[in-house]
């Protein structure tokens, strides 16, 4: 290893590594997924410009950064594909898996770019040329993508070598980099944010008259840091051919999972109890054998109709020995029972044909693990046991864990899920949610809104029109009578009291002391679950003050949403 030794900060390191690069990865992945041939002209559009262009499109004059119109003018039959980072990463798994057939550990720097420590792998295959050949042919055979392989010392040199399909001899990387333009620094930036910073830096360097890496790296490091900050320092080191961090290799490992095929489709709960216990025990054994513990278990089952049901449960049983199998058996049984009876909002209940338990978030035994509530103290373990006891007593769905989630109305802002079950918030709590009902939050939020009446001084209902104007100031409020006071309500159920048919029984009209609103909330107007409401905060005038109310006007009617009690 011939690393340039730096004056300060100890010896700089530059690992010899091979880089596998698939040209125009986003467009290659998109074309593969869309079923396009490799020679079709295609480009991936993100925002206002093309982020990747296929070889055929480039030949007809489409370039990265072109707008949609400009690209279509250059190549009228260009296929414009949507940008999707998830797809890029997903498709690249096939390439990474193919490369792992050849070498033991790879690092995916970004979709389209793989790092491989060259030393050991090249020795195994005989030479770097043989390694490169093996990689290219393995990737082409297994995934069908063409790729280029290069090797050099240090990150930037290796990436540039791969783009040129070169094997830079050991110790020659600094020369190889010297004449490269400063724009090539952006190739070593792996995240979009970082790349933007580097591109800014490069444009400033261009205006300062610095064109090549050797000119840039000739500048004193301290001055670069003082002028350009951390980005400049990073670029300076990368431009020298150094590595800023060692490669992080991933090892492919089989999932730890156990499966169970029902000999005949299970329809009854009794059939499942033993299966749940048995498969939990086998999962426990498999985990012990691998010397690991997991903090989540994915339970999935296949029904006779072909539906796949899946649910993730947390298994924070701490270090209690032997608790795992029993704990898991309960959860598997509950989940299967739920799927069989179809109480959840899933597909139609149907007999189950197979069951799979997969361990997730696997860690080695003995490694300390951060639990949901921090360490395992006596009180936490006691509370956890209490919850388990209640779940076995009342059923898993009766004991809930709650979280805040995003939303505007008080009801939308709560995410409740059976204790121990993973629930994904529908709305991100970190988003701003403009127009949400201001704090303080109401202490009582009715699970289902109740009808109520908001009346003006003359006793006729107050309405909110399309322009969010109230027809009259609210003066009286009538709530539904307490069902416990049915007898008192029956007396008022006289036609003379204004009750007709199945209408709810109204209580006494109560005078309004103060009110605020209406605050409009129109949500998801584009979808089927659109809602358009106007909210009103009302304080009642009573001898004891009484609670304040949150009322919502929706569909021509007032609803009692919450009580500030």
């Amino acid at each position: 290893m011939s690393a340039p030794v730096h004056a300060r900060g100890g010896p700089a390191t530059a690992t010899r590594r091979a880089v596998l690069w698939v040209p125009d990865w986003p467009v290659a992945a998109a074309m593969r997924e869309g079923g396009w041939g490799a020679d079709a002209p295609a480009a991936v559009l993100h925002g206002r410009g093309m982020v990747a262009v296929s070889a055929a499109a480039r030949a007809s004059g489409v370039r990265r950064g072109h707008g949609k119109r400009q690209a279509q003018r250059a190549c009228p039959d260009l296929a414009i594909l949507p940008y999707d980072e998830g797809r890029d990463a997903r498709e690249f798994e096939a390439v990474a898996a193919a490369a792992e057939e050849v070498v033991a550990g790879v690092e995916i720097s970004r979709p389209g770019l793989l790092m491989i420590p060259a030393g050991g792998a090249a020795r195994f295959h005989g030479s770097e040329e043989a390694l490169a050949e093996a990689l290219v042919s393995a990737v082409a055979e297994a995934s069908g993508h063409e790729c280029a392989v290069g090797a050099a010392d240090g990150l930037l040199a290796a990436i540039m070598a791969a783009r040129a399909s070169m094997l830079v001899p050991e110790g020659r990387s600094a020369e190889f980099l010297a004449d490269a333009p400063v724009e090539s620094l952006a190739l070593a930036a792996m995240e979009r944010r970082q790349r933007e910073g580097v591109e800014d830096l490069v444009s400033v360097l261009g205006r300062l008259g610095i064109a090549t890496l050797s000119q840039f790296t000739a500048l004193p490091a301290g001055d670069v840091l003082a002028r350009f900050g951390p980005v400049g320092r990073w670029a300076h080191r990368i431009g020298h051919g150094e590595d800023v961090r060692p490669p992080v290799l991933r090892r492919s490992e089989e999932d730890i999972e156990v499966g169970y095929e029902f000999e005949e489709p299970a329809e009854r709960v009794e059939q499942l109890t033993l299966v749940a216990a048995e498969s939990s025990r086998r999962l426990d054994e498999a985990l012990l054998e691998a010397g690991v513990r997991c903090s989540r278990v994915r339970i999935s089952a296949r029904t006779e109709r072909g539906d796949v049901l899946e649910r993730v449960w947390r298994t924070d049983v701490g270090s209690r020995a032997g608790a795992f199998a029993r704990h898991m058996a309960d959860r598997v049984r509950w989940q299967l029972e739920g799927w069989l009876s179809g109480t959840g909002s899933g597909p139609e209940p149907a007999p189950l044909t197979s069951l799979t338990l997969t361990a997730q978030e696997v860690i080695a035994l003995g490694d300390e693990q951060a639990y949901l509530w921090g360490g395992v103290s006596g009180a936490d373990a006691r509370a956890q046991r209490t919850v388990e006891r209640m779940q076995s007593l009342l059923g898993p769905d009766a004991v809930l864990a709650v979280r805040e989630q995003g939303g505007r109305s008080p009801r939308d802002r709560v995410l409740a899920a059976p204790w121990g079950q993973e629930a994904v918030p529908a709305r991100n709590v970190a988003h701003p949610w403009p127009g949400r009902i201001p704090d303080p939050a109401p202490a009582t939020v009715l699970p289902l809104p109740e009808p109520m009446q908001v009346l003006d001084a003359g006793g006729s209902p107050v309405m909110v029109d399309r322009r969010l104007a109230l027809s009259a100031p609210p003066t009286w409020v009538r709530l539904q009578a307490d069902p416990g006071k049915a007898r008192a309500a029956a007396a008022r159920r006289h036609p003379a009291a204004g009750h007709v048919g199945d209408e709810p029984t109204w209580g006494e009209a109560q005078p309004v002391e103060a009110w605020a609103g209406p605050w409009p909330i129109a949500e998801r107007w584009w979808s089927a679950d659109a809602s358009r409401r106007a909210y009103l905060q009302v304080a009642l005038h009573r001898a004891d003050g009484g609670p304040a109310l949150l009322a919502a006007f929706s569909g021509g009617q007032w609803w009692l949403e919450a009580l500030y009690d």
């Binding site: 949901l372 509530w373 009180a379 936490d380 006691r382 509370a383 046991r385 209490t386 919850v387 006891r389 209640m390 007593l393 009342l394 009766a398 004991v399 809930l400 864990a401 709650v402 979280r403 805040e404 008080p410 802002r413 709560v414 409740a416 204790w419 127009g435 201001p438 704090d439 303080p440 939050a441 109401p442 202490a443 009582t444 939020v445 009715l446 699970p447 969010l468 109230l470 100031p473 002391e513 103060a514 009110w515 605020a516 609103g517 209406p518 605050w519 905060q537 009302v538 304080a539 001898a543 004891d544 003050g545 009484g546 609670p547 304040a548 919450a562 009580l563 500030y564 009690d565």
Partner: protein
């Protein structure tokens, strides 16, 4: 335990007796068998509620709260913030956002909204395992069940906060009057409120009336947000 015995083996009879008594007392305090009625351990309480319960929220007691869910949540908040676990049984309508804003840690909060006919078992399990248990107003609990739960709480050192009347509660907090401020005629928003609470202790004779301000938010920043809301509406 062995070491002090070795030290006093050679001492006089009186010294050995004194040492033995000392050891016994140490064991008793550690196990907690002798506890004075007055110096029960306490759960932490939010500062705003200190005038309400100057002696603090004693472990092993039942506090009945009438007329305000916010007050119940506020009573539980101090303990929850300091690491206690809390359970809410039989209150399907409790506002979770309000609970979180009052300081209850949602990671240590367990909800049993509809215990149904097994209210006694659920409440009992919570009293056993959690530090604070909030019980809703319409639970299927007989007076005998309530006495048993109270005895269990005393034994386990947990606190029951019951909504509505509870025969034999150590402390009854009844909200007599609540006054909201911040609302106008179509403008403003609910900002803060004063609760007038009648505190009746089982031991203390007279009823004490205390005024506490919940949701107090001082400062002009809040006023500014209030006016902004009004503008949006207009």
């Amino acid at each position: 335990m062995l070491k002090p015995q070795h030290d006093v083996v050679g001492g006089s009879r009186a010294e050995r007796l004194a040492a033995a008594r000392l050891a016994l007392a140490a064991v008793e305090t550690r196990v907690g068998t002798t506890r004075e009625a007055g110096d029960r351990p306490r759960l932490p309480l939010t500062e705003t509620l200190e005038p309400l319960l100057p002696e603090g929220l004693q472990r092993g007691t039942v506090v009945s709260v009438e007329g305000s869910t916010s007050l119940m949540l506020a009573l539980a908040a101090g303990a929850s913030r300091e690491g206690s676990w809390a359970a809410i049984v039989g209150m399907p309508a409790v506002g979770i956002v309000a609970a979180a804003r009052r300081g209850i840690d949602l990671a240590r909060l367990v909800l049993v909204p509809h215990p149904g006919t097994q209210a006694v078992e659920a409440a009992g399990a919570c009293v056993d395992g959690m530090d604070v248990t909030l019980l809703g107003p319409r639970l299927a609990l007989s007076d005998q069940d309530r006495r048993r739960l109270a005895a269990r709480a005393r034994e386990r050192g947990s606190v029951i906060l019951a909504s509505g009347p509870w025969a034999g509660a150590h402390l009854t907090l009844a909200v007599e009057r609540s006054a909201w401020r911040g609302l106008g005629a179509g403008d403003g928003r609910l900002r803060e409120r004063d609760l007038t609470v009648a505190v009746t202790g089982r031991r203390s004779g007279a009823v004490r009336r205390v005024r506490v301000t919940l949701d107090a938010d001082a400062t002009g920043m809040r006023v500014a947000t209030g006016s902004r809301v009004a503008e949006e509406v207009a």
